[in-house]
Amino acid sequence: MNFYAIKAIYLYEMSRTFRTISQSLIAPVISTILYFVVFGTAIGSKIENIEGISYGVFIVPGLVMLSVLMQSITNAAFAIYFPKFVGTINELLSAPVNTSDIILGYIGAATTKSFSIGVIILITAHIIVPINIVHPIYMILFLLLTCFAFSSFGFIIGLWAKNFEQLNLIPMLIITPLVFLGGSFYSISMLPAFWQKISMFNPVVYLISGFRWTFFNFSDFSFSISLFAIISFAILCNIIIFRMFKTGYKIRT
């Protein structure tokens, strides 16, 4: 464990965030407000309450998840892709650091960043539609776990990507549809039976369901299933990262 290295990487990454603070924070906040205006207010006013919760409030957990997943993936992917692109990755490879130091530094910073964005979006949403969170501790825990798991996933994409197109491919092509079809804007139980079955294969469904439970105390699946899913995903991603560094996959020649 190289404490100074973890600190150096973490602070370096955070300083990058602060340097580009406007892009980092304003973009997700604005797009969330837009979602609210369109889905929450314009369309939502025509939709009846779900389990006694107004539609505008109902979509808040899904919106937070949408932003947090995208932010975690793109931040972590970029954080390691950029040094590969610029060539500074060699400094990292020649430094006396373990894979765990690298993970704690880079993924720790990406997690911090996307968690902060999630919290800011929540506060923004709260200003528009007052929200009462039933299980705040679980909410924070689950949000942190999600940020960490998907930052790890993004890190893998950053290590794997050979160019900027590939870097954007997975978030655009896979994550966006999965999130939209994952019940961000509706409850799975509102779907016809056939589509409910199909949705069971979408991992994001469990995420949003679990996160929604921490807010409203009701969900499509039990919270423990969601918790189990996100922890397994985080562990799987980190195993892959360790393997990639050990074999030098696409990093060391």
Binding site: L11, Y12, N90, P96, G248
Partner: protein
Amino acid sequence: MKPIISINSLYKTYKSGFKALENISLDINKGEIFALLGPNGAGKTTLISIITGITIPTSGLVKVNNFDVIKNPINTKSVIGLVPQEVAIEPFETVLSSVKFSRGLFGKPQNSDYLKKILKQLSLWDKRNTKIIELSGGMKRRVLIAKALSHEPLVLFLDEPTAGVDVELRKDMWGIIRSLKENGVTIILTTHYIEEAEDLADRVGFINNGKISLIENKKQLIEKMGKKTLSIHINNSIKNIPNNLKKYKLEISNNGATLIYNYNINHDKTGITRLLNDLSNENIILKDIKTNQSSLEDIFVDIVGK
């Protein structure tokens, strides 16, 4: 003396199938300056990348400070500083934060006084809050050196440190290298500037096509390989070599005003005395004589040419 770096039967074949290094064995002594010379594509950077843990060797053993670079990379990496050939630094960071990052990455607590000293030495102190992207090429190279020195390495690799650097900085750099050596730092440098190796290095290694062709103490090398030439300037220029002088294989240059004689200092008889006698027998009047020793560059061209 125990070597600080020891390389044994090292092979590197890239995934493309290209054999970049073949059977390299080499010891670097503690505290010496070792210059690695060789043409483009010889394998210099590959060798350095393996020792510094960036590239994975195909087979062979590399030890730094008695630790195996594969089995104990943390131990070997923490004593090595690397100034890479490619100038790669995050463009939007400032000089100071870049250097601080390196120090932290190599596991050292921050020390502003030390970093200030290095940056001053490299004439970067005034630029400490400037973004890398706003620096000139030579300044970026200085930042790379500052980054490598920031964590007080025992062994410093300089992969063509003076490429694209002006004369003044090159002199500064040589000064820094010498003072590092005085502080006991072992230095391995690659360069295409032969004068650099000739001026700085204690020993010189030649690498070509992935094979080390010669490792020598620089002075011995120059002497051993050292052919000398004797230039004889004469009063009356001549067109043809007189028959009696044919055996000396003289070359005529300068329109017959200069005769050039090649000999080797290490031979028992250089033939100079006899040549001078025979010249006077032929009534050739000497104006001046001059001797020249071959430089590392000549030797280098000689070896690489083979």
